[in-house]
Amino acid sequence: MAAASSEEAIKAAKVLMVGAGGIGCELLKTLALSGFSDIHIIDLDTIEVSNLNRQFLFRRSHVGQSKAKVARDAILKFRPNISITPYHANVKDSLFNVDFFKKFNVVLNGLDNLDARRHVNRLCLAAEVPLVESGTTGFLGQVTVHVKGKTECYECQPKPVPKSYPVCTITSTPSKFVHCIVWAKDLLFAKLFGDKNQDNDLNVRSKDDNSSKTDVFERNVDEDIEKYAQRIYDHVFGYNIEAALGNEETWRNRRRPNPIYIRDALPEGVVQQNGCSQDHKNEEPEPSEPSAMVSLGLRNPQEIWSLADNSRVFLEALKLFFEKREKEIGNLIFDKDDQLAVEFVTAAANIRASSFGIPLHSLFEAKGVAGNIVHAVATTNAIIAGLIVIEAIKVLKGDYQNYRMTYCLEHPSRKMLLMPVEPFEPNKSCYVCSETPLVLEVNTKTTKLREVIEKVIKSKLGMNLPLVMVGATLVFEDGEGLEPDEAANYALNLEKILVELPAPVLNGTKLTVEDFQQELKCSINIKHRDEFDEKEPDGMVLAGWSGPVDKQVTSNGEKKPVPSASRTEELDGTAEDISEKPGMKRKLNEILESKENFDALQTSLDVGSSSAQVVDDDEDEDLIMFDEDPKQGKKKRLQ
């Protein structure tokens, strides 16, 4: 393995790592030990306590500092003579353009989100630099190799998007705990503490009567904070539910919710708190951040609180926000690392769950759901990092016959815990690495350009700073360096209906969209359509697009991709440092499900490619050894 050629390739290599989190720490260490001596590393994040259980280059004293920089310093302690260049920056920053990427022999991803992965994929394609991509969740992981023209690109296969829910399920008819969490976090929390100008579906049922113009969620001047908190409680858990019950149609086939008023939840009154305030001695140092749990003497985040406890936490957390963090109100965005926010959301979700007969959950569990927190352990990251380096060395040696994508499994499949598979060929209809035009069905008489840009070009096609042309007319451009009059003109166009644009967009019009930074350009053929049903909530359908799809397997085993009906607001974008690579779970599940059937395994791995093959020495063949002589560079069969 480590023949002279590997060593030479390693020594000469200039490597770009994107991400210094769970996989990144392990990867940087293994690269340094393996002899890599010129490593650049980009990471936007700073270190958090919950990173320390696996991001072993970081210590408690580093909390708050740049991951990339601290990781570099830690590595230099045992490899002082290598060069590590850290960037505490977003990989989507314009600094990291195609020319920047061209300087590297290989790019290694240890990222946590689809958006950044797509961006890096495009830059690697444009710069023609090989990419080794990775992801882990719990005991599962995968490593894939993407080399332009030789293997599929990261976006050749559909990627599932985070689950989203119809608005009415969240606002009126929750049936699962996650619905209550989304309500508590995206609606109630946002309404009370977030930007008041944001649209919020909570408004729908919040009007006491038509005459009152005041916002019921607004705290009145001089209103006692305890009174205010109780008023909000009674309004959202009592009055609103009662009002909703009036709509008989809704409840015909559903369990009717119970309105909950503070007098029911806390019959003895609010003042009688069980572990009242500070007299509960804590061994932990007094946290600097206000916490309703601490005030109320609730200590175990794993415990499921009673309705009464949840009600106390709700009131206390709301009060603490107004008393201790008043300045932030109006600007708060839910953050899973904001203890008070998590307490509030847990309590609100649980009270709502009580109303609707949904089982309650602990703060620990609620935090996981609300924060989309991924399951992460050090061991999987270490294994995946090892596999990345093995693959990177092959890439540097140009040993493309031996490129593999490898799955790290929790349960062995055909005796294997680490399962190598031959990489797929590029998908010829991939809009990223091929030039296939897309088709957008849209009502050109009612849809604004803004909607097309937000919902399709940015959200689905993942462009960062798009430019839109209708024929030869430039109708929109994003980014810096625009003249003020240009910018104003584009802003006007954004609000125009498609047919009313300076160059009208009609049935049959061809749009050209381009992102210069990503060097990605694609064509979209417009097809006018009047009606869209509720499964198409965007009011438009993008076809020929290999983006997120839900796969449905028909009874005869034939697979057909079905575009997923998704709200563009995803549950949360704060997936943490080593979140799974979207798409991984789907593949792994399929492998596990079909492990009895090898043929099924082959096809289940990919819809578009027939060349996929699990690498295996056949029952009747002897071991295939790989010759280490690079000049021969081919498989040699023994005996």
Binding site: A2, V49, P80, G138, P301, A382, A385
Partner: protein
């Protein structure tokens, strides 16, 4: 709980500090597993690139205590695959591998007690082993491995035994959990109690080769040949080199004849790779083996999740990580 490590709070609950630190992994294996982990004591004999990966993983995971045994004085060779030894002679000079590694590992997680045990693994007595729940042995002779495995089995408490070795791009893990009962997660989500009975190392390697399935990993045989050769010429592991190739091949022929295995089942180039590896470890392979072993020890301590029974192999040449059950027809 002794003074070591992660004190679980009153009523055995995890402290807020532990919950915050271990948040992401508790979401993988649950609070009970985390509590069990914080009460487990692990001994590692032989510090090298592979075992330090393992040590890092279980210290981060929050094991109760970790003891390191390796009296060898650190040399420059030890720096190759080891990120725990700073390349500064004024720090490591004249000190044992265990001491220097211990110092670095302590930093990784202040809630875990990491300490050094001096002594020779080949002389470990039974009573000493009672301090531990898990023993990991690396780069030891077959004789030492058999001796420690045997001693673990003689104690009244169950002591899990693991042997792990990396030879450049190849690696092997052996697992003996004796009697192991654990909770298995079914694909549907429901759980089921499972019982496994493991053979000892002696029992496993005594299985005649002609009784093994044809598809048994070639590495299994190659490692046995090497081990056997080293034993016969009284060499320490890794001291055999390419110059021993003819003698090793002769030994291989011998063994194949005795156990009626076609010699072609053990490719000579594989033997050659293992011999030229010597004591060299390929860092990515160390990370993979140390990761797999870390996971195994966590699963075994927490009695949660399928454990490897009873050999694991990784070869960077084909990229496969394979489990072998030897003997194949042993209980379960």
């Amino acid at each position: 709980m002794d003074g070591g490590g992660a004190g679980a709070g009153a009523e055995g609950e995890l402290t807020a500090q532990e919950t915050a630190l271990y948040d992401r992994q508790i979401r993988v294996w649950g609070v009970d597993a985390q509590k069990r982990l914080s009460k487990a004591h692990v001994l590692v004999c032989g510090m090298n690139g592979t075992t330090i990966e393992f040590c890092k993983n279980i210290v981060l995971a929050g094991v109760g205590s970790l003891s390191l045994m390796d009296d060898h004085i650190v040399t420059e060779d030890d720096l190759n695959a080891n990120f725990l030894i700073p390349p500064d002679e004024s720090i490591y000079g004249g000190r044992s591998r265990a001491e220097v590694c211990c110092e670095s590992l302590k930093d990784f997680n202040p809630m875990v007690r990491v300490s050094v045990e001096t002594g020779d693994p080949s002389l470990i007595d039974g009573e000493f082993l009672d301090k531990f729940d898990t023993v990991v042995v690396s780069h030891a002779s077959l004789k030492t491995k058999l001796f420690i495995n045997d001693n673990c089995r003689k104690r009244s408490k169950r002591i899990a035994f693991y042997a792990i070795d990396c030879k450049d791009s190849c690696g092997e893990i052996f697992v003996d959990l004796q009697e192991h009962s654990y909770v298995q997660k079914k694909p549907g989500g429901e759980t089921e109690q499972q019982e496994l009975t493991y053979p000892s190392l002696q029992e496993a390697i005594s299985v005649p080769w002609n009784n093994l399935p044809r598809k048994t990993t070639k590495l299994y045989f190659a490692m046995r040949v090497l081990e056997n050769y080293e034993l016969s010429v009284e060499r320490s592991p890794g001291e055999t080199t390419l110059s021993d190739m003819p003698a090793v091949l002769a030994r291989m022929k011998d063994m194949c004849d005795k156990m009626s295995l076609n010699e072609s089942q053990i490719p000579a180039p594989l033997i050659e790779r293992l011999l030229s590896a010597g004591k060299k470890e390929h860092p990515p392979v160390c990370a993979i083996l140390g990761g797999i072993l870390g996971q195994e020890v966590i699963k075994s301590i927490s009695c949660k999740g399928d454990t490897i029974k009873n050999f694991f192999y990784f070869d960077a040449a084909d990229g496969k990580g394979v489990i072998e059950n030897i003997p194949p027809n042993s209980a379960n």
